[in-house]
């Protein structure tokens, strides 16, 4: 399956397992991202398929003095 990770990285990883395992393999803390498949947000227990393309969107912003 294809993972579109933050910073425009595109990775090929094994599918047919829970999303949680994919994130663990990539060293991504699930608390810091939202994962999208098409129009749908995925919870960490979702089984991702071999033919899926998922997008990992970083939820963390920082460094702004006062305005989020």
């Amino acid at each position: 399956m294809i993972v579109r990770a933050p910073e425009k990285r595109e990775l090929e990883v094994a599918g047919n397992r829970p999303l949680e395992e994919v994130l663990a393999e990539l060293g991504i803390n699930p608390e810091t991202v939202v994962v999208v498949r098409g129009e749908e947000l995925l919870t960490r227990d979702t089984r991702v398929r071999e033919e899926d393309t998922i997008e990992v969107i970083s939820a963390i912003s920082g460094g702004h003095g006062a305005l989020p």
Binding site: V34, T43, I60, G63, L67
Partner: protein, 328 residues
């Protein structure tokens, strides 16, 4: 997993609440929780005029969306910082959002008002970009509110932002800052009430809301944020959160409830009397406010470096322009 409220597939899991929700129920929950925070802390009262600070990121646009959906009339304030293409895109995203929803927006362009954007300000003062930027934004939020008759300034600060600030203050035991942190900073003479309706939502929860509501927000980060300490604090807290759901919320809420009152009392924290800045009239504890001091220094150095013409004098008053919904 299934939605707690219906049989649909859950799209957002809230581990610290033992909750998972489908898209429709999540949006409903998020808006109801915001309304609850506003009520609980009396953030917005009858007759208040609300200015909401808009950067173009997920938090501020989501906040403007929710306030509007809850029936509050909130005017946006976007400060154009002049950080290259990043700021240009932030402006585009913000004006498009306002235009599509017919919402009133005020824009202050730093370079237009003062002749220098954030990068030139940093160069002229020799201070890191974030310091002049943060100070200028806080000042302008309050000044625009004062001049345009708003008594409330809302910002999109979320739980991660607030917990990271608290951690930073605790690590150094910043006894000056700790008593002042909170979801509401009350109105004082010349200072608008500062409110943070999203202070109990994690960053992931706000991002989930923005994505499910199809809000086109700016995904890219400010180039100056790289390596910011706040990001390190957030990372540390999220490692704890992953192992112990609820850590961030307990850390912040229990501090506000149990520790801050004792701290304030023990320190005999008294409100320092505010005077009017002799340059611009803004509230300050000294003779001249930090904003005027910063920009005075920047002007002196910028002229030496030929970034500004010798004839240009520093005028503190910002040039605020109203972007009508059909412009931008």
């Amino acid at each position: 997993m299934r939605c707690r409220k219906c049989t649909q597939n859950a799209q957002v899991e809230l581990r610290r609440h033992g909750l998972a929700l489908c898209a429709a129920h999540y949006l409903e929950w998020f808006e109801a929780q915001t309304a609850r925070a506003i009520r609980r802390h009396k953030m917005i009262r009858e007759g208040d005029r609300v200015l909401v600070a808009i950067s173009g990121g997920k938090d501020s646009l989501a906040l403007w969306e929710v306030l509007t959906r809850l029936g509050y009339e909130a005017t946006g304030l976007h400060i154009q910082l002049g950080i290259g293409e990043y700021s240009e895109r932030a402006y585009e995203v913000t004006t498009r959002f306002a235009r599509e929803r017919g919402l009133p927006l005020i824009v202050v362009d730093l370079a237009e008002s003062y002749g220098l954007g954030v990068p030139e300000l940093s160069l002229a003062t020799g201070r890191v970009a974030c310091s002049g930027c943060g100070l200028s934004k806080r000042y302008l939020m309050n000044e625009v509110a004062r001049e345009e008759g708003f008594n409330v300034v809302a910002t999109g600060h979320n739980l991660d932002d607030e917990a990271a600030v608290l951690l930073g203050n605790v690590l150094r035991w910043q006894t000056d800052a700790l008593p002042r942190q909170g979801p509401v900073l009350p109105e004082r003479e010349g200072l608008a009430r500062r409110i943070k309706p999203f202070y109990l939502f994690t960053e992931r929860e706000v991002a989930s809301y923005a994505l499910l509501r199809r809000i086109a927000y700016q995904h890219e980060e400010c180039p100056n944020a790289t390596g910011a300490k706040s990001l390190l604090y957030k990372e540390a807290l999220n490692r704890l959160e992953e192992r112990m759901p609820g850590t961030k919320q307990a850390f912040l809420e229990q501090f506000l409830k149990k520790i801050q009152p004792i701290l304030a009392e023990g320190l005999g924290a008294q409100e320092v009397a505010l005077k009017e800045c002799e340059r611009c009239g803004a509230p300050t504890t000294g003779e001249t406010c930090a904003f005027c001091r910063l920009w005075d220094q920047a002007y002196r150095r910028a002229k030496k470096r030929k970034l500004l013409p010798e004839s240009r004098a520093f005028e503190p008053r910002p040039r605020a322009r109203r972007v009508a919904p059909e412009e931008g």
